[in-house]
Structure formats: structure tokens, C-alpha cells
């Protein structure tokens, strides 16, 4: 399993997992271990630690506690790899909390490193650009090879802006719409648009975060 994390002033990350019984067959649930590995944005390994997880217990880990002291609070984007080392009973999915003093948002990882095909393009279905709704993208490369993709922003009428994104192996990026595109707000003109990743064949994980700058909160959603 893999996901994305940030350890910075505006957003910290917490990893949550459980090892719950299947109630119809409780004896199948056994103590396991979980290996967490953190990478930096360039794909360099920063930390790895193995945790025990008893029957019916839950693991709640702050990524800042894993990081080397010098890196705490200074990782703007990174991939986290989560290896559940034991029988898979179905309750081993990990959820991530991304939070700050104002809010908490949560979503799950990608199970495995193989991504089911999408019929089209990985799409952010509603893109806006205002102080209440500022889109940020979090992308992690799950491929053994470097990942390259075009990113296309379209307004409600189909007018487009394009850019490209490159990620090394195990690399990741966290980038706002305004960093990616000059004039995004002008293009969208107050109406929801869409955003596509042109690379629909390499395994990658995509989240988008909506920043409400008035409230100081984030809202996450996986694609």
C-alpha cells in the first residue's frame, strides 16, 4: 500500500491502520507487524520503522515521529509505503489524516501498487479557484520508472491550459492550481472546471486537496 504525506506547518499527517477480527472467524486474526517507509519528494528514503499490531488493535502514527529530527516540519511532499506483514483479513486498509490546528481531513491509501485501468483520464471533477476553494494536487509515483504526465485544466466551455509534471521513482509533488497554471482563476471565471492527467497508463496515486483559506482547512479526496 502507498499514500502521500506532508509534514509542514500548514499540514501534518497521521497514519491509521487496524487489525480487526472477522467476527465469523475470530481465530484467524493474529498479531502482525506493519512496516512504514517514508520517502522525500525526490524518492529518497527518509525513514522506516516496523510496528507491532495486536489482534483488534489499531495503529495511529504521526509521520513526524518517524522522520529524522532535522526533517520534521520540513517535508512538503512525500510518499509513504505501508506494508502489512501478516494474514490479510480485510481490515488492514490504511487511512491517512491530514490536519492542522483548524481542521482534519481523511482518505484511504491505494491498495497495492497496481492501479486498475481507467477508461479515460484521471480527473478532478470540480475545479474552482477562490479563497474558499483552492485546489492542490498531491501525486505520488508508484512506478519503477520515472513518471511524466501532461496536466490539462479546462473551463466549463472546454478552453484549456496545459502543463507537464515529472516525478522520479518513489517521488511525489504537492502543488497548487495557481502554481501549475498562470491565469487559472481567469480561465475558470467562477464556474467549475475539470482537470485531467494525461498519463493514464503508469501507476500513480492522485489526491486533490481543497484549501479553504478563509477557514484555514483542507479537504482531501482520492481520485
Amino acid at each position: 500500500m502507498a499514500s502521500w504525506y506532508r509534514d509542514a506547518i500548514d499540514m501534518r499527517t497521521r497514519i491509521c491502520m487496524s487489525n480487526l477480527e472477522v467476527p465469523e472467524a475470530p481465530t484467524l486474526c493474529q498479531p502482525v507487524t506493519v512496516l512504514l517507509t517514508l520517502f522525500d519528494s525526490d524518492g529518497g528514503e527518509l525513514a522506516a520503522r516496523r510496528y507491532p499490531l495486536r489482534r483488534n488493535a489499531s495503529l495511529v502514527v504521526e509521520t513526524s515521529d518517524l522522520l529524522p529530527p532535522a526533517r520534521r516540519g520540513h517535508v512538503m511532499s512525500g510518499q509513504v509505503r505501508i506494508d502489512f506483514e501478516g494474514p490479510q483479513l480485510g481490515s488492514s486498509r490504511a487511512y491517512l489524516h491530514w490536519y492542522n490546528e483548524r481542521g482534519l481531513t481523511s482518505s484511504h491509501e491505494k491498495f497495492g501498487l497496481s492501479i486498475p485501468a481507467v477508461g479515460g483520464y484521471w480527473t478532478v471533477p470540480s475545479v474552482q479557484d477562490s479563497d474558499d476553494y483552492r485546489v492542490h494536487l498531491a501525486i505520488t509515483n508508484l512506478d519503477e520508472r520515472p513518471y511524466t504526465s501532461t496536466i490539462t485544466l479546462k473551463d466549463a466551455d472546454g478552453a484549456a491550459l496545459d502543463t507537464t509534471l515529472d516525478l522520479p521513482r518513489n517521488g511525489s509533488r504537492f502543488v497548487s492550481l495557481t502554481e501549475l497554471f498562470d491565469g487559472a482563476a481567469d480561465l475558470l471565471s467562477g464556474r467549475p472546471g475539470v482537470l485531467y492527467f494525461g498519463n493514464n497508463h503508469q501507476p500513480a496515486m492522485y489526491y486533490y486537496f481543497v484549501a479553504n483559506q478563509r477557514l484555514g482547512t483542507w479537504r482531501a479526496q482520492h481520485l
Binding site: 481490515s91 486498509r93 481523511s106 492501479i115 480527473t123
Partner: protein, 279 residues
């Protein structure tokens, strides 16, 4: 700790044994696209929007799609059905909850929506549904969420509703955050369910066995249905794991609210338990 499932509801009475007879395999003349299910609400403060994006489902800019929306509010049959015009390429299908209120001549609605999006040019493939996204937002910013429509019927690798158990690790009940669980009963019959809440150590509290009426959504406040939830989790860091049992499959979502601001900024689906993974 021994945990057993609630008793299975008795659905049928016993009948005398009869030798099963071979039956012809019933095949549809052509397979149809699967619907997805979602929560849909407009109470004047909270609003909903359905998004279907053609190029999220095809790389052919000319492939045409059409959407059928059926809205349920407790009755077996939908109270409103909407058929879209065909759309393709850069034409995005967006349906606002205000459109539903206007059609129903109501000021409020909370119920379920069945979204069946179909390609008009290609038959269903190995993933026989069109991705649809539901957005939720509030005028006072107290709610912000976006989730994909739930694929209710299985048979593919994305067997979202493969199990009667679902779970959410990381649920909150502490001084800063409160959680609620939204469950959608798409079945035309009442559905029983139960919540099992685990602290990090494995200490557990359970709800009573509850029931959701047919064709309705219900939002359960965790600390109401599991008395002592906040104390249980707060003693061990404020976060734990939730396991939900239901007699029939229920799409489930966890919403986490900041107690100080009242803002819900965490809204995503649970994952099935003891079933194949989903992405």
C-alpha cells in the same frame, strides 16, 4: 476477546426438501451499465451536485454519454426521475440539488440517488460503470465533501459492496473532533446494523442493533449510538477504529467534525471488511 455477529435475520421459512432441477441460464440480450448510489441532500443550507465527466471515462472526445437519475426518499419507487441529453467531450454533466427541488416543488430533500450513466456508443466493458462524483457543500462552509458514487452491484474487481462488514481506521471521538457515520439503505426493505468501536488497544464498545428504513440514508452520531465512545477513545489518544456490521450491504461514509468550528472537512467512504480490496 470473543466477538460474534448479530443473529442473522430470518428471511425465509423452511420448505420441504425438493431436488433442485437444472434451470436454463438467463442471459440478458445485452449487458447494461451498472448504476452507482449516492447520498443527495438540499436543506437550504447544505447542497449537492452530481458530476459526470466524459473524459474521465473515455479518451474518445466524441463518445457520447447519457445519464438517468432516480431519486428515492423511502418509497420503493423513485419520487423523481431525470433523463439527461447526450453529452460528450468537454460537455460536463452537472446536476444541482436546486434542480431537484425545482422539479419536486419542494424546499428540502434528503434521500438517495441512483445514477446510471451509459455510453451511447460502446457496450459495458470489464468495468461496467461510468464514474460519477457527488459533491456536498454548505452555504456557511460547515460541510465540504466529494465522493465517488458507490458501485452497488459487484461482479468486478471493484467489488465495493462485497461484504457485510466495513471499517474505518482513524475514527475520532475526542475533545477536538466528533464523528458521524452516514449509511445508505438502497434496499427496499429495512436493514439492521451494528457499530463496533475499538480503541487503539483493542478495547471495544458496541452499539445496540439498529435499523434503517428502506430506501433512505441515515446519519448516526457516533457518541449517541455508542455511549462512552468519547471516553473510550480519549483515554488512548482520541482515535480508534470503527467496524460496521449490516444485514445487507450498506454504502458507508465517515464524517469528522471540528467541535470548535463545527466544520466537517473529512468525508470519505469506508472500505469493505474481509472482502477484496477496492481502489
Amino acid at each position: 476477546m470473543s466477538v460474534s455477529a448479530p443473529p442473522r435475520p430470518r428471511l425465509t421459512t423452511s420448505v420441504p426438501y425438493t431436488e433442485p432441477q437444472p434451470r436454463p441460464v438467463i442471459r440478458r440480450a445485452s449487458p447494461d451499465w451498472l448504476p452507482v448510489i449516492g447520498w443527495f441532500i438540499d436543506d437550504g443550507l447544505r447542497h449537492s451536485r452530481i458530476n459526470v465527466i466524459p473524459l474521465g471515462n473515455t479518451i474518445d472526445p466524441h463518445e457520447r454519454f447519457a445519464v438517468t437519475l432516480k431519486f428515492f426518499a423511502g418509497q420503493e419507487e423513485p419520487i423523481h426521475t431525470f433523463l439527461s441529453e447526450p453529452f460528450a467531450g468537454d460537455d460536463m454533466f452537472r446536476y444541482e440539488s436546486a434542480d431537484l427541488l425545482a422539479a419536486l416543488r419542494r424546499t428540502q430533500f434528503e434521500g438517495l440517488v441512483e445514477i446510471t450513466a451509459r455510453s451511447l456508443d460502446n457496450p459495458p466493458g470489464p468495468f461496467p460503470w461510468i464514474d460519477s462524483w457527488l459533491e456536498f457543500y454548505a452555504d456557511d462552509s460547515s460541510l465540504s465533501g466529494s465522493v465517488p458514487g458507490f458501485v452497488f452491484k459487484g461482479g468486478t474487481t471493484k467489488r465495493v459492496m462485497s461484504g457485510k462488514w466495513q471499517h474505518w481506521p482513524g475514527i475520532a471521538a475526542n475533545d477536538q473532533y466528533a464523528s458521524s457515520v452516514l449509511l445508505l439503505n438502497y434496499h427496499p426493505r429495512p436493514t439492521q446494523l451494528r457499530f463496533d468501536l475499538f480503541a487503539r488497544s483493542g478495547r471495544e464498545l458496541r452499539s445496540d442493533t439498529l435499523t434503517i428504513a428502506p430506501r433512505l440514508p441515515v446519519t448516526f452520531d457516533l457518541e449517541t449510538i455508542v455511549p462512552g465512545a468519547r471516553v473510550l477513545l480519549s483515554r488512548e489518544g482520541g482515535f480508534g477504529s470503527l467496524r460496521v456490521w449490516s444485514a445487507y450491504k450498506l454504502p458507508g461514509f465517515v464524517l469528522m467534525r471540528n467541535r470548535t468550528s463545527g466544520v466537517i472537512s473529512s468525508f470519505d467512504h469506508t472500505v469493505p471488511f474481509a472482502g477484496p480490496p477496492i481502489d
